[in-house]
């Protein structure tokens, strides 16, 4: 039978170096293709978004996660289930805003940057910006508009890597009927 049969919720294990190097090749190519880092960041985000809107279905089909009813639940699922499933890491969730609509994911390790040293002429580059797009795209498909950005990055001299997520709104018009 096809790979379906031996594919559990764990997913197929693969060498993360191939993934890391492929991502590296992608980013360097974008840096060659576009003049400024801003544009590269934008392209990475866009690619991530396109991945996210597809990845969410894979995630929902494979994990038995139900609908999240608040942003804290969402944060938990992202950190403990999704990141674990796709990147093999579990970021910690911290820095909640008092209103509970904003939090940070602190990545102790980021598999995308295993071998990366950012050259001086790329100060504006947000190397892992693809992840922001993925998160935004995936959450949009479950009717949550969020703002995602890197606020700290070890590549750029910070102590930790921090992704800040801000809840904007429920996309009411897209909520499937009979759901909730």
């Amino acid at each position: 039978m096809s790979r379906q049969g031996n594919r559990g919720t764990e997913g197929k294990k693969m060498n993360s170096e191939l993934f890391t190097l492929t991502y590296g090749a992608l980013v360097t190519q974008l840096c060659k293709d576009y003049e400024n880092d801003e544009e590269v960041n934008k392209q990475l985000d866009k690619m991530g978004y396109n991945m996210g809107v597809r990845l969410i279905e894979d995630f929902l089909a494979r994990s038995s996660v139900g609908r999240c009813h608040d942003f804290r639940e969402t944060a938990d699922v992202i950190a403990k289930v999704a990141f674990k499933m796709y990147l093999g890491i579990t970021p910690s969730v911290t820095n909640w805003s008092p209103a509970g609509d904003e939090f940070s994911l602190i990545l102790e390790s980021n598999p995308l940057v295993d071998f990366v040293e950012l050259p001086d002429n790329h100060n504006g580059l947000i190397y892992s910006n693809l992840l922001c797009g993925v998160l935004r795209g995936a959450l949009e498909m479950v009717q949550m508009a969020v703002d995602v950005k890197f606020t700290q990055d070890t590549l750029r001299g910070d102590n930790v890597t921090e992704i800040r997520m801000k809840f904007i709104k429920r996309i009411e018009e897209n909520i499937p009927v009979g759901d909730e």
Binding site: E57, A61, V177, G178
Partner: protein, 219 residues
Amino acid sequence: MAIFSVYVVNKAGGLIYQYDSYTPRAEAEKTFSFPLDIVLKAHDERILVSFGQRDGIRVGHAVLSINGVDLNGRCTADGKDVIEYLKDPVNYPVSIRFGRPRLSSNEKLMLASMFHSLFAIGSQLSPEVGSSGIEMLETDTFKLHCYQTLTGIKFIILADPRQTGIDSLLRKIYEIYSDFALKNPFYSLEMPIRCELFDQNLKLALEVVEKAGTFGPGS
């Protein structure tokens, strides 16, 4: 075959995939002499039996061919109106083949979006708040099972009422969809699924469920 059809409906209510796994029911062919003792009527580009059920010819069956030549809508192959043709004694004896009309892809599209609305109506009609839409619809001859994902895609299976294991099959189809449609970079979201691998794996999954003999007890 205990699973008859699979439908996938996108968020907007558009049918993006359809698969039938049943063979059409027996058709009946009979030679008639004048006058025709079955009442026919024209309906939606088809000629249907409206009265005079017998010999395996049932009300609702459509005229499929006359003297072995397939009809072209409501006209014979050479362009004459069927009703007029059958009124004319010179054309007798005539051999007519009847059968249950199969849904055209257009009709399926229509029915799918209609179900999409019914699903919504279902949740509105509910006396309790927070009702889901239609999850199952039961008739004498089949059961319709519907699973809506969090993102709003509906997977619909028409199966024998006694078939079990449909819930897990629906989840399985969701997995197949996420694998072989969404992970195919050339598949665009919300569009009809025309992916060979999706077809193959879907059929495989249906076979597994059917072979498992998952008919409930007492069948």
